[in-house]
């Protein structure tokens, strides 16, 4: 399995070619590229940053899970970091399998899950400012708020060792519903009524509209351009 974060151009064609092996009947490629706009604002470039060690570990875990979950033979997941320009590949997911159904399903699941759980962020630089893209909502098992587990765990007093003994929460989130969740639904991202607003007010990938607000100093500063 080729699982990487890189600061270099992702050799998409090469990766898709080298994964092929005799037993494969299908190779499914998702090539995520930088779009030239974000809802009407012209994108100059995107700056990706990651919690690198954790991102790599999460990507490895997802890849391994995809193999088990969908029965595919091999998986490659490569994410680029740093500054990317329009048309460049930011993320590449390749799945090799005996049959196309599993390859498609695994590929879709991998990119959708990556976008919710792998600690990578991007800042969108427009002609007239820069904003951190709003992320996908964390699955409830990962997000701290709204978890019924919170009170229970803090009350059990099990000490240091017990503190982190629970299985990785992500594992629970990922099992069970291949394909049933659509990563592209943001309506309920932050849960609280009114926190997002109705569809009419949407500018969901623009952080300033929700996190900033008047007088929030540094975030406004970034609007001036960096």
């Amino acid at each position: 399995m080729r699982i990487e974060t890189t600061d270099e151009v992702i050799p998409a064609t090469e990766i898709a070619a080298e994964i092929k092996a005799g037993p494969d009947g299908a190779v499914c490629v998702f090539d995520g590229i930088v779009r030239d706009n974000s809802r009407g604002r012209k994108t100059l470039h995107l700056d990706y940053e990651a919690y690198r060690e954790m991102a790599l570990e999460q990507m490895r875990a997802l890849a391994g899970e995809a193999v088990v979950k969908f029965g595919v033979r091999d998986v490659a997941v490569v994410h680029r970091l740093g500054r990317l320009f329009v048309g460049e590949t930011s993320v590449l997911v390749v799945v090799a399998s005996a049959h196309r159904g599993a390859a498609f399903d695994a590929c879709r699941w991998l990119i959708d899950t990556l976008k919710k759980t792998v600690p990578i962020w991007k800042k969108e630089q427009f002609v007239d400012g820069a904003v951190w893209a709003d992320g996908e909502a964390f699955p409830s098992e990962i997000r701290l708020q709204g978890s019924s587990e919170v009170e229970v765990r803090s009350a059990d007093g099990s000490g240091e060792e017990g503190g982190r003994a629970s299985p990785p929460p992500r594992a629970k989130a990922l099992v069970g519903d291949p394909g049933s969740h659509d990563a592209h639904t943001a309506e309920s991202m932050y849960g609280a009524p009114g926190s997002v607003g109705g569809g009419a007010s949407e500018d969901a990938s623009i952080s300033e509209s929700r996190y900033g607000g008047p007088g929030s100093g540094r975030s406004d500063g970034s609007e001036a351009g960096e």
């Binding site: 809802r39 701290l144 540094r218």
Partner: protein, 90 residues
């Protein structure tokens, strides 16, 4: 005890640095570390309520207990991949 706190994405911009050392009472929990960031959370509840925390690079829960030397990362919702939220894409 002392832990290292890492900030990413919009949180890094808000606090003005990417890492800091923080002294906490022995046996403090993730929730107590977050409580120490009350000032950061104020007025930004939608963001604050959507974050995740990793301890030593694994997603953690509020009740998890910290120990000296832990690396605690505050993570806003992630936005890797290519496009933003796809429902706006063509």
């Amino acid at each position: 005890m002392r832990v290292c706190v890492l900030y990413f994405g919009v949180l890094k911009d808000l606090v003005g640095h990417s890492r800091s050392e923080m002294d906490l009472a022995e046996g403090a929990s993730v929730a107590e570390l977050l409580e120490a960031h009350r000032g950061l959370a104020k007025g930004r509840e939608p963001l604050w309520n959507s974050i995740a925390v990793a301890v030593n690079q694994e997603y953690a829960r509020s009740g998890d207990l910290l120990k000296d030397g832990d690396e605690v990362a505050l993570l806003p919702p992630v936005s890797g991949g290519s496009a933003g939220l796809g429902r706006y894409a063509d």
